[in-house]
Amino acid sequence: MPESVTRPGQARFVASLEETPLQAVDAVASDVVPESQWKEAWKRLRRSVLFWISAVIILGLAIVIAFPGLFTSADPNYAELSRSFEPPSDGHPFGFTRQGADVWARTVYGARASVAVGVLTTLVVVVLGIVSGAVAGFFGGWVDSLISRLADIFLAIPLLLACIVVISVINNAWPKRGFWGSILVVVLALSLFAWPQITRQMRGAVLEIKSLEFIDAASAIGATRMRNLVRHVVPNALAPVIVTATISLGVFIVAEATLSFLGLGLPSGVVSWGNDLSDAQNEVRSGQHLSVMWVPATALALTVLGFILLGEAVREALDPKASRR
């Protein structure tokens, strides 16, 4: 290290080199890997209020689904006509339905079916959408035309009406199906007409990423097309799809309830919020015994709210520019 030259008076303002090792301040640590977008997003997510509210709701929901027995000791399928519309009593906080079943127990046990439809439909739609969208966007040409036209066709058919037709077809062909069979049918019907949205979004994102320089760089050092697609393009194009998927999970739960309300969702033997709400129609018309309606409705609304909030929080974490504006 060279001898530091100090002019008269300078010592008062500038610390000597021994005190401030410049090299240490300016050096770039070349061996440190920069944090991935996901790690950074998680850091931002942890600071978001919306995320924690949604986390509490979803965690609570998971506990209710895993251990329904902790929240009620009544059997959701047991009904006694003599207890029809009995007011709340000990162990039965919200009273009884027309058939004399415990309202609270039905709501607690109904969570499983509603959430199963939401989660499974989202999984199917996301897998279908990501694969088809990535293939269409990355390879282009006739594959792109084919997938895009197919997406156009399925998008043009109204979702709710199409699901009604599909389910009524299956209802006739396969009338006796158990719990998971019934769930499967609703999941299939919803996913059959909901995938194009994710496909379109994924295709757009892939088209954008594909033209970036780092993809050329990867090709230049010898990455094959397949490796480029799987390792570089898809992971970087996932962010918008994840946000849409989280929000649509809530939308699918509402869709299941709506289909059940129309009598075409889950069969009436399955305990679900949609079925409870469907049964509650008459009570609402007469304006009496409203707990039959508002207890499952609140549970459903809270659940959907939880997933929409999560989607919002993830959107802000993945796109910090938009939230800081």
């Binding site: 609402v284 018309r285 459903l300």
Partner: protein, 308 residues
């Protein structure tokens, strides 16, 4: 522009063909004899059955049936329903109701969604914006039929402000309550889209320039922020008219509105295949036409977009 419209119209053909094919195939796959759906419980002789099958083209292979349907649909001849009425006449009666309902819902969405969205966007992260975020999230989380029943109970039965059900002789006034219910979910989306769009535009370079040259805030907002922010909102509303018409099944059911949603639902439960396929075809047509209109509107609103 004329070329663009022509190309878009051509692209609509495979969409309409594909969509009708899918619905036709689904209905065709439906087990059970369609002839038995028509005749009900009464036993019929084989010659009568054969005559009915010939009348509805049921004796021909699937693809031929579909092509014959398409051929007739070109001239809006959708066949006859179980009661012997032409399906086209049924649709002609139901379509105006649903169209009116959807346009009313769209108007509510546009006025409230854009109005509140602009205020929320201009005061981003203020108390109004935050409370609007909460309100829209709740609107999205509650199923439309719950909202429908609650509104029907409160405004129809308890307060008596609106008709509880609509029925055959509908008026604009009686459709108001169903229109509000129908509008709620998409109102939430419109509001949030407007809000984001306004908030983004407020930070655009050209807005900063407008402020820098000393333009009063009122003029900046009106001429530079709003005009640009409304482009995505207007296009969203355009596509929405199509989805509103198709999504009216539930609302029409609750308020007993004699529209095409109800028509389709009843036809599905009765197994009246001709009506189901025809109604869905009409809805696909409306959707495809609305997307075309939206694309053209886009070019009108945003002079940067030119279709060659």
């Amino acid at each position: 522009m004329a070329w663009y419209i022509a190309r878009r119209l051509l692209l609509m053909i495979p969409v309409i063909l594909g969509a009708t094919f899918i619905i036709y195939a689904l209905v065709f796959l439906r087990p059970g004899d369609p002839v038995l759906n028509l005749v009900g419980d009464k036993p019929i002789g084989p010659d009568v059955k054969a005559a009915i099958e010939a009348e509805y083209n049921l004796d021909k292979p699937f693809l031929v049936q579909w092509l014959l349907f398409l051929k007739d649909a070109l001239t809006f001849n959708f066949g006859i329903n179980f009661s012997g009425e032409p399906v086209a006449a049924e649709i002609a009666r139901a379509f105006p109701v649903t169209a009116t309902l959807a346009v009313m819902a769209l108007a509510i969405e546009a006025v409230l969604g854009i109005g509140l969205g602009v205020v929320a966007g201009l005061r981003r992260n203020g108390w109004f914006d935050s409370s609007m975020l909460l309100v829209t999230l709740v609107m999205l989380a509650i199923p439309i039929f719950v909202v429908g029943f609650v509104f029907q109970l409160v405004f129809g039965v308890k307060l008596g402000w609106a008709d509880v059900t609509v029925g055959g002789d509908w008026t604009i006034g009686s459709l108001l309550l169903p229109a509000i219910v129908l509008a709620i979910v998409d109102l939430a989306y419109t509001l949030r889209l407007t809000r984001t769009s306004v908030a983004e535009n407020l930070l655009a370079d050209h807005v900063r320039t407008a402020r820098a040259k000393g333009l009063p805030n009122r003029l900046v907002v009106r001429n530079h922020v709003l005009r640009n922010s409304l482009v995505p909102v207007v296009t969203y509303l355009g596509v929405n008219l199509g989805t509103l018409m198709a999504g009216a099944v539930v609302t029409e059911g609750i308020f007993n509105v004699p529209g095409i949603g109800n028509l389709a639902f009843d036809a599905i439960s009765r197994g009246e295949n001709t009506t189901v396929v025809s109604v869905v075809t009409v809805m696909v047509l409306v959707y495809a036409l609305m997307s075309l209109v939206v694309d053209l509107l886009y070019a009108l609103l945003d002079p940067r977009i030119r279709y060659a």
